[in-house]
């Protein structure tokens, strides 16, 4: 399965403290391609405007600026996890492909996972000509790495392929589209219903060459390994070995002048997470992605020219089962929310690298511009036993003898979480301690990840830890988490909205956000949703999960940072194309 490939995460023998800490922070992750795109969205772009304004904003990468950047040197990226060795797979349409595939194939455009800002690739520009019609104008003069010209037919061919083989459509584009057509260098995607934020998902489908893929594919193309990849991207595959592979620069790339590395090495990760940490600490990679304890001591001070950026990549929250008493009572949820000391929870869970989460559901500061100013204190809730007591009283509970009781029965809560997500486990222990102090009888249920997934999807839980958000696009974050259309009956599996929140107000706000084409309307709808989150608390946000970028600036600079947060520092998904396009050689 996919996840294996990406970070070592839980997949490996000596599983993975680290990636686990990541867990829950969205926006990272292998199939992130799918994840992001499934949700990435229109945030910054105004669909109506011809060329996305973001395109120009994204700097030299897409700009093909005249002089270009200083070239040369080898970029070493902490590669895919070898389990136990790398499996040659450069099929951009499956989630099991190797990370380097992202530098070989390009999508039409990529939305930043920080704030949804677009950077243009195969499409020079894109716009919604109507709320259901998305039009891409393709870049001229693009060639496949075998010298054949790229055309609109390749784009329609790729979309048709996804339609024909649902197993390839991991982002579900055909759940929203009705057709994709081309005319000249214009590709038009028609939606079944207005869904502006879905732009990023459509734009981020990697485009494959029709002349090579139209015949000779195996009966099940999701099992096609594509060992001789031909793409339009800045790099081509030069060598593959089971423990590492190397890409070299595509000299004919349309933006070659702005691509600094002449070569990219992807040495495989060890299946042992702590070995990976040791490798990172000893400076084997220019760009790595690992949680490191005491990063200042273990990484920064261990060598010169090192930096890190641990931005929030998702929200970790306590999901209560909204089909059950008393969890379906917003007052009860508010009571719980006010019993929690989120700073302490964050400190235990993520070493204080990241902080408490806003109950608006927005990831701050990434999406700060969307904050509803009417919500006090950015939606941050501080521990307040008295307020909590008031809420519990409204829910019919009273404190007696240190126990929170209703009709003589103590409030109890079983929290389900996977036993191998160490940050969640640490957070859950703290949550348990704090809620117990508040008189609730808390039990932790910690099954394997697979059983956890089964439980939460089928709705077989009281409370559960979960992650949401991190796509960079508020609509996608909220839609996945709150849309009542996902709220399947108990016993039927659903990935999204597994807390089973049903609110006509929220659904209406989501619908208007999906159809909104101007920023004011988008802001208004987003505010409504934030207020729903803040007052109803369908999910109780706890803290932000991190995205763990570690960089060496010895060979290249231009990494994403707090000062220049152009995307999350995740080398294993399409963000790598964004980052590599921005690098500058040192010296």
């Amino acid at each position: 399965m996919r996840s294996l490939h990406r970070h070592t995460a839980a997949a490996t023998a000596v599983a993975a403290a680290v990636a686990l800490v990541v867990s829950g922070c969205a926006g990272s992750g292998k199939a992130a391609q799918s994840a992001e795109s499934a949700s990435s969205g229109a945030a910054g772009s105004s669909p109506g405007s011809g060329a996305s304004p973001a395109a120009s904003g994204s700097g030299s990468a897409s700009g093909a600026s005249a002089g270009g950047v200083k070239q040369g040197g080898t970029l070493t990226i902490q590669g895919d996890s070898g389990n136990p060795t790398l499996v040659e797979n450069f099929n951009p349409l499956v989630p099991t492909e190797l990370g380097g595939t992202r530098l070989i194939y390009e999508p039409l455009a990529i939305a930043s996972t920080v704030d949804g800002t677009f950077t243009q690739f195969l499409a020079a520009s894109q716009k919604f000509t109507s709320p259901t019609t998305l039009e891409f104008t393709l870049r001229d003069g693009v060639k496949w790495s075998d010298g054949k010209p790229f055309s609109a037919a390749d784009v329609t061919f790729t979309f048709d392929l996804l339609k024909k083989y649902p197993a390839l459509d991991t982002t579900g584009v055909w759940t929203q589209l009705s057709k994709v057509e081309s005319k000249g260098n214009i590709v038009t995607a028609t939606f079944k219903a207005p869904n502006v934020p879905f732009e990023s998902t459509v734009a981020q489908v990697p485009i494959v060459p029709e002349h090579l893929w139209s015949s000779g594919l195996p009966a099940d193309p999701s099992k096609f390994a594509n060992t001789k990849p031909v793409g339009t991207g800045p790099f081509t595959l030069s060598s593959f070995a089971p423990t590492s592979y190397t890409l070299t620069k595509n000299a004919d790339y349309w933006n070659a002048a702005n691509i600094a590395p002449s070569q990219v090495d992807y040495p495989a990760q060890s299946s042992n997470q702590s070995t990976n940490q040791l490798n990172v600490a000893s400076g084997k990679f220019d760009w790595s992605y690992n949680f490191l304890p005491n990063v200042q001591q273990t990484y920064i001070s261990r060598g010169a020219n090192r930096s890190y950026w641990f931005p929030p990549g998702g929200t970790i929250g306590l999901f209560l089962n909204l089909t059950k008493e008393p969890y379906n009572d917003p007052n009860f949820r508010q009571g719980i929310s006010h019993l929690l000391d989120r700073d302490t929870i964050a400190k235990k869970a993520v070493n204080g690298y990241l902080g408490a989460a806003s109950t608006t559901g927005l990831i701050l500061p990434n999406l700060e511009k969307w904050l509803d100013p009417s919500i006090p204190d950015k939606g941050m809730i501080t521990q307040d036993a008295k307020k909590a007591g008031d809420y519990f009283a409204k829910a019919g509970y009273t404190m007696s003898g240190g126990q929170l009781t209703k009709d003589g029965k103590q409030a109890d809560l079983t929290i389900t979480l996977p036993n191998n997500y160490s940050d969640w486990v640490a957070a859950a222990n703290e949550v348990k301690a704090e809620l117990s102090a508040g008189g609730i009888n808390v039990t932790l249920d910690e099954p394997s990840a697979a059983q956890y997934t089964t439980k939460i999807q089928s709705g077989n839980f009281d409370g559960a830890f979960g992650g949401f958000g991190g796509t960079g696009v508020p609509y996608n974050d909220f839609n996945n988490a709150l849309n009542s259309s996902f709220a399947a009956p108990i016993g039927t599996a659903t990935v999204n909205n597994f807390e089973r929140f049903k609110s006509p107000e929220t659904d209406a706000a989501l619908a208007s956000l999906a159809a909104a084409t101007d920023e004011a309307a988008q802001q208004a709808a987003t505010n409504k949703i934030q207020q729903q989150m803040f007052t109803q608390l369908p999910i109780i946000p706890l803290y932000y999960g991190g995205s763990w970028g570690l960089f060496q600036t010895t060979h290249f600079t231009g990494w994403p940072s707090a000062e220049d947060p152009y995307t999350l520092p995740t080398p294993y998904n399409q963000m790598s194309l964004l980052v590599v396009s921005r690098l500058k050689a040192v010296g």
Partner: protein, 331 residues
């Protein structure tokens, strides 16, 4: 001939039972491959969606029919060595995945087991021969202590000291990044260099079984009449120790050797994991985490069959070592 027939019948029965167990075990367990995959995605920080769930369900395909028909098609496929496609490595067949990992484990585990066996047996012979002396106590207590080290812990320490602190050995994998496995001298020496730490871990922690077994057998054998008689006849100590006592004391250990050779394949899961070794142990753990039935079944089968086969081979060897059994086989 009855001996052979009996062995074959038992082999087939054990084989069948193992096959059936392999089939049943993963299916008796809660949790589905799809949920395992989604769980892993989430562990990687991916926000999974219902669209992804549907696509993955389509990709995984999943077993068709009821358990019984699954069972029979499983048996049929297994006999044709067709294990299908694994969920974890969809672009290659399970056989291919296993064949890639098999030589690594066979070499690592095979070599270390043989080293541990030979070294442990020699130490056991020595301790048994010099029983009651300081040398005996040193060997016995030393072996006791080393065998008590949890292998993964010992491996972790070795890894930190020799791969990270002093960087004498490679920290991970079976060979250096960029190399493609081949039989050239340079590649083999690279592979050997990579295998030293895991090999030392496995050897040191598995040595003691052989030491204790051999020491006990040796002491028992030293009480046998033929040893006394050899002594009465003034044979040299070395002749008595090796050709009379040790040679016979070894016989029970040969059978155990067969069992252990197979068992260590399974036992190397943790050590392979620690050292990121590209072997079966590592694969097995991945298969378990992913509820990867096809891979798991095939790996179990490989491990079980390798045990059955080693035991059979060792039986043949045993016939060579013990003339008393030789007659039984011929008869």
């Amino acid at each position: 001939m009855r001996y052979v027939t009996r062995k074959v019948v038992l082999f087939v029965l054990t084989f069948w039972a193992a096959l059936t167990l392999n089939f049943a075990l993963p299916r008796l367990m809660p949790g589905s491959p799809l949920d395992a995959a989604l769980g892993n995605l989430q562990a990687n920080g991916v926000q999974v969606t219902n669209a992804m769930r549907d696509a993955m369900a389509a990709q995984l395909g999943g077993a068709e029919g009821n358990w019984l028909s699954q069972y029979f098609s499983y048996l049929g496929n297994t006999l044709r060595l067709n294990f299908g496609t694994s969920f974890s490595f969809p672009t290659q067949t399970v056989s291919h995945t296993i064949l890639q990992a098999l030589p690594w484990t066979v070499c690592l585990v095979g070599v270390t087991t043989i080293i541990a066996f030979v070294l442990g047996t020699l130490l056991g012979v020595y301790a048994g021969w010099r029983r009651g002396t300081a040398a005996d106590s040193t060997v016995t207590l030393g072996a006791t202590l080393f065998s008590a080290f949890p292998p993964f812990w010992f491996g972790m320490l070795l890894l930190y000291v020799f791969a990270f602190k002093f960087q004498i050995f490679a920290s991970q994998g079976g060979y250096s990044p960029g190399l493609t496995p081949n039989l050239s001298l340079s590649f083999l020496s690279d592979a050997v260099q990579h295998s030293i730490l895991p090999a030392v871990t496995l050897t040191v922690t598995s040595l003691s079984g052989w030491v204790f077994g051999m020491r006990n057998n040796m002491i028992n054998t030293l009480g046998e009449d033929y040893v006394t008689f050899a002594e009465a006849n003034g044979l040299r100590s070395r002749t008595i120790a090796l050709l009379y006592a040790a040679r016979n004391a070894m016989l029970p250990n040969i059978t155990a050797f067969g069992l252990s050779l197979g068992a260590v394949v399974g036992g190397s899961v943790l050590v392979e994991g620690i050292f990121g070794y590209p072997g079966l142990g590592n694969l097995l753990y991945i298969a378990v985490l992913n509820h990867d039935y096809p891979l798991m079944q095939a790996l179990f089968l490989v491990i079980t069959v390798s045990m059955l086969v080693t035991i059979f081979v060792v039986d043949l060897l045993y016939v060579r070592f013990d003339p008393r059994v030789r007659r039984e086989v011929i008869a």
